[in-house]
Amino acid sequence: MVLVFAEATNGKFKKAAHEVVTYGAKTAAALGSDCVALTLGNVEDAGDLGRFGATKVYNVSAPELAGFDSGVFTAAIAGAAQQLGAKVIVLSHNSTGKNLTGRLAARLDAGSAPGVKAVPVVDGGKFTVRKAVFSGKAFADVEILTDTKVVSLVGNSIPVEESGSAVGVESLTVELPAPKVKVLSTKRAEGTTPLPEAELVVSGGRGLKGPENWGVINDLADALGATTACSRPVADSDWRPHHEHVGQTGVAIHPNLYIAAGISGAIQHLAGVNSSKTIVVINKDPEAPFFKAADYGVVGDLFEVLPRLTEAVKKFKSA
């Protein structure tokens, strides 16, 4: 059995939850087994996960799960997996998942593949799954050798698919330890999609010359409904907040579209953005290395090109 941990934020599922359930259902199909989903705490309409291929949804609710403590969540997921006899556990490779995958693997003495990008290949008892390594500069096909396996899925790497309809939700009781972590506050930016989950990203570099010029980036992002990002020197100079810094030592992103303006395309920048499906580069220097990694390039002054592109997007959207 494949057990998928479907995370809810303030009681609601985000796209990442639908992606992991889709992934779990496909993994179960490859193994000739079933996929069930696990939710923790109060979740609205948990049975809806059946639409993405879960044959049943389980829920563990307890006061210990009110704030995020990786130890308590691990006990809940591992306990559910053991009660249900699940052999494969699937999570999202997001901030929650990164706090849990390793703990679960250690607790269950299981092999793990963190940050996978594709459904496992099951062949003659071998379970092999592809993950990005060297910050996207290569892939590794990782064979998990243990009976119990833990994998975490990178966001936006497989399309969400509907293959069923809503299913029943059953409560499970799992013994939980007392939390060691006390949550004091949780803050999330309202409105915009966070970078690691974004499908469309508009990014600016040192070519913007200063923080006062970011209007051209924001206008294009608003027209597209995109999230904004920046290169490292831009964040280091405090032109933009640190959480916008993408690259090898910043956020690794995997959007469908990455538009980079005034960014030269240093190898450390590329490492965090080269999983983008389509890359557009706007740079006044035709020799900028970023053009080698781009699908579409515009050689020109970004202060002229970006407003023109914003107008073209608005025209397209209103057509």
């Binding site: 704030g67 990786s70 901030s95 929650t96 990164k98 706090n99 995958t101 390793g102 679960l104 693997a105 250690a106 607790r107 092999g111 793990s112 593949a113 963190p114 940050g115 993950k131 060297f134 910050s135 290569a138 892939f139 590794a140 096909d141 990782v142 998990i144 060691k180 972590v181 006390k182 949550v183 004091l184 506050s185 949780t186 803050k187 999330r188 930016a189 999609t193 966070p194 989950e197 469309l200 640190h242 959480h243 810094h245 090898q248 910043g250 690794a252 190898i267 490492a271 080269n274 557009v280 990694a293 699908d295 579409y296 390039g297 515009v298 050689v299 002229e304 090109v305 023109r308 025209k315």
Partner: protein, 244 residues
């Protein structure tokens, strides 16, 4: 406070990744190595700052072969007091975590980087925390200590969460926790005399094996668009790339 900083050795960030002919390993010819940036810039420096403010000790731990000693010495030059190397060729993340856990009893804080820049696992710190039965806070961008109580800010999607935890604890460091320190001549000289204890690994099986590596397919040549004609770019993004 007794602090342990786990450091990994990784290829330098500008390394062009090439594979061996049978694709089962990185072609290591000509590759320059560094201390994993998250371990060096953030985890180690924050541990040193806490020691400077409140006393205690900072020990570096690496699981790896003898040629990792140069990376360990760099950590000593930046200011750690001593180091342990578990003499091993490695064997996957859970193997490494078991080696670290066998050395990590008795520390108030065990520091990790948020991920290695080679295998990008983001899992060793959480594994060690589970093996030790202590709290773990991953991707932390701030850490303040007040006695034995830590206030930690951790990065979450599109925001931050602030938590409070008592020692002992394990933490993985992300950007924001500290600023990189460059070792000075005195530090480099002193590092040569600091203790680096080599210990043998405990028995632990490999739980994963990389069957093969693959390089991403080469990008086809960039399609250049007339900067005057952004309608054309929008058309291509819609009709050809199908991303808007």
């Amino acid at each position: 406070m007794k602090m342990l900083v786990c450091v990994s050795k990784t290829p330098e960030t500008t390394t062009k990744i090439q594979l061996t002919a049978d694709k089962t390993d990185l072609d290591k010819g000509g590759v320059q190595y560094i201390m994993n940036p998250y371990d060096e810039w953030y985890a180690l420096v924050r541990a040193l700052e806490l020691k400077e403010a409140g006393g205690g000790s900072v020990t570096i731990l690496n699981v790896g072969p003898a040629d990792n000693d140069s990376v360990i010495r760099k950590g000593l030059a930046i200011g750690a007091d001593d180091a342990i190397r578990v003499n091993s060729e490695g064997g996957g993340s859970l193997y490494i975590a078991k080696q670290i856990a066998a050395q990590a009893e008795g520390y108030d804080i065990v520091f990790f980087g948020k991920e290695t820049i080679d295998y990008n696992g983001s899992e060793v710190g959480a594994m060690v925390a589970e093996l030790l039965g202590v709290a773990y806070v991953g991707e932390a961008s701030h850490l303040e200590m007040n006695g034995n109580v830590a206030t930690i800010t951790r990065d979450i999607e599109g925001g931050v969460e602030v938590v409070e935890v008592s020692t002992p604890l394990a933490i993985s460091a992300a950007k924001g926790m500290a600023e990189q320190r460059i070792p000075n001549m005195r530090g480099i000289m002193m590092a040569k005399r600091k203790p680096l204890n080599v210990v043998e690994p405990v028995d632990a099986p490999s739980t994963t094996e990389v069957a093969s590596y693959e390089l991403p397919p080469a990008k086809s040549a960039v399609k250049l668009i007339d900067p005057e004609n952004m309608d054309e770019l929008v058309r291509l993004l819609h009709e050809e790339a199908k991303v808007i």
